[in-house]
Subunit: 389 residues, 2 copies
């Protein structure tokens, strides 16, 4: 096991009606003048934004609003938010939405106190220092951003999608998580979220660090819970308990507890980021295409961890590692298909992907070699992209 | 799933040599004048206290010391610490040890800012308000106190052992966890720690709350890791990776992640606290006696969760719930025996336990009915105590 730091100070308040605590928690943990960040019209139409405003008013919290954050969120909205906060002397952020909204709010939180352009953080030109405090009301279980110190933003100029990770600076102060708020998610979005959270675990699970049984077992536990509960939310979108299990799984998938003490991988995320940056597809759907391809490659070249996964979570009994790992990939593909997710580029809606472009962009943006479990150069990433066809 | 709050702000720094960060973390997260709390001479003899002092000196932190904290820690040392801190204007605490040391430091941290006697908190006469900040250097993986908001203290007058639980007030600011510091633990103490952490999971696992798959699976994962790694640490006390797995398992067992969204039980802990209060045995050894007895009772009266546990972590294939649960108890007993732990009062060294006294004390101290999974009156607790014979 490798040395690690695990620091997750976010206060999670989970259950029915918890969004009505937004005002009180904002006043006590964040500030009296905040920027509400949200996405499309559903937050308004569902009445959620109305309830949040009511709760803030009762707690004597002032606010301004920045709406219109879209999936694969872009740098322009971050700059707009930074300017609004500076202009109006706002002191904190309240993100109402899923990963795109939260990631935008995080980038704003880091950008406001910084003299340069916030994109410096994403390009590694500057380290994040002070950040403004951030609270979250989660509406989409997927990205795990409510519990992570991460943010992913796409720069419109050049369609560069970059993820940054901090130990604690970008973690929300609180996250209000009401599973009822996810009842109205369209089935495809629900399924994409499930693929995203499973991918967050896979990225940590596929590790070469030996003797990390505790972290393996916790990761497998979260995966098994997702596998058990996902069909229930697809069959009955208003099944509170199933929604609750999926929502909390998404947080545990990405708050770090599935990755302690080991080297992680993250090549699949890097490969997917290029797909969603170029073709603007849903991140989770891109992952349900990339991950089985990546795992197929690993089954041949480095099958140990895939075989363990197949045996422990999919009940595969095959003794040969390569064959067991392949059986696991088959199970995963079927699982994704049953959720209505694509497992090929074609099914994803990308009829003739420009693999040359994807490979070129990938290694330009992420380096000549990517991945912690098995190092991939452009030779291998090309092969894996081809396996998605 | 029930509504819950999960808030674990402790910064865990885990790995080889991390105790040398004590000074820097104390200076940055706690204060410049601290009270070091520790147990017996082993902390001194091993050189650990020396290294901690060196680290504090380098960081310009002043300190005083309160040693001599014993297992089943007592109220007198808490009052001694409170007086020392007040007299010398100390602002924070650094606990160097296991659960007894940390629990003592927590009680001091709560007691110093309080005008009345700290025992009021344990008797429920007062709510914990402000607490002094606390850092931990863990030397015994067992109680999970490094990551919990709990403290257990025994009042010498009347031998009353009481546990209190706070959401966040008593959680340490940081915990330094170097598995190497546990290499020299005597085998029996190592084994007692393992029983203690398993018990912390069982108390949360045995729940009547339906549809808590994610929490069940995480709890089972931690248990399976412990079952895998425990024989390794017993066979080779200096196996770093096995020690690391056990150490981190002990934290996850009790920081709350194994109990989210459900009613918990805690009857077995209450029953054991009377045994260790009256007979001064090791808490973990008392638990390895009480838990199989409690589970045997449940196998007959409420077998569902025990059967699930048996099938999922012990590989039991029996279809009948009662029989499966009993098979699980047999596996657990054998596991404890293999670790060198007692599973009867006689083996615990309590030749003729006064069951009348234990039952009378239990319900006087903990109420007429105890337990969340299955309510136990004195009729049932007497029966369970008898099952330990």
């Amino acid at each position: 096991m490798e040395n690690f730091t695990f620091w997750t100070p976010t206060k999670y308040v989970f259950g029915r009606g918890v969004e009505m605590q937004a005002g009180q928690l904002t006043a006590s943990m964040l500030a009296r003048k905040v920027l509400i960040v949200y996405g499309g019209h559903s937050a308004e139409a569902s009445g959620l934004l109305g309830r949040v405003r009511e709760s803030l008013t009762e707690a004597d919290v002032e606010w301004r609003e920045l709406g219109g954050i879209r999936p694969n969120p872009t740098d322009d909205k971050v700059r707009e938010g930074i300017e609004m906060m500076r202009a109006d002397g706002l002191e904190a952020l309240l993100a109402v939405g899923g990963g795109s909204v939260i990631d935008t709010a995080k980038a704003i939180a880091a950008g406001v106190p910084y003299e340069g352009d916030f994109w410096d953080f994403f390009e590694g030109k500057a380290e994040i220092g002070d950040t403004l405090p951030l609270g979250v009301i989660l509406t989409i279980p997927a990205a795990g951003s409510e519990g992570s110190g991460n943010s992913v933003i796409t720069k419109i100029d050049g369609k560069v999608k970059i993820s940054i990770r901090t130990e604690v600076a970008l973690r929300p102060k609180f996250a209000l998580m009401n599973p009822e708020l996810t009842f109205t998610l369209p089935p495809y979005q629900t399924a994409c979220g499930i693929a995203d959270m499973m991918a967050h675990i896979f990225e940590r699970y596929f590790s070469d660090t030996p003797c990390v049984e505790i972290t393996d077992r916790v990761a497998e536990g979260v995966l098994m819970a997702i596998i058990e509960e996902a069909p229930k939310v697809m069959a009955n979108p208003t099944d509170y308990d199933a929604r609750a299990n999926i929502m909390w799984s998404g947080t545990l998938a990405h708050n770090g507890v599935c990755g302690t003490g080991r080297k992680e991988d993250w090549a699949s995320h890097a490969m997917e980021h290029e797909i969603s940056a170029v073709y603007d597809v849903a991140h989770g759907a891109g992952l349900s295409v990339v991950f089985p391809a990546w795992m197929t490659f690993m089954a041949k070249n480095h099958p140990e961890k895939g075989a363990q996964l197949a045996r422990r979570i999919w009940g595969v009994t095959e003794a040969d590692d390569h064959k067991a790992a392949i059986e696991g990939v088959m199970k995963l593909k079927q699982f994704f298909k049953d959720l209505g997710l694509p497992v090929t580029m074609d099914e994803l809606g990308v009829k003739e992907p420009d693999i040359d472009l994807l490979v070129e962009r990938l290694h330009r943006n992420k380096g000549a070699v990517i991945g912690g479990y098995y190092p991939l150069t452009s030779t291998e990433t090309r092969l894996i992209y081809q396996l998605t066809l």
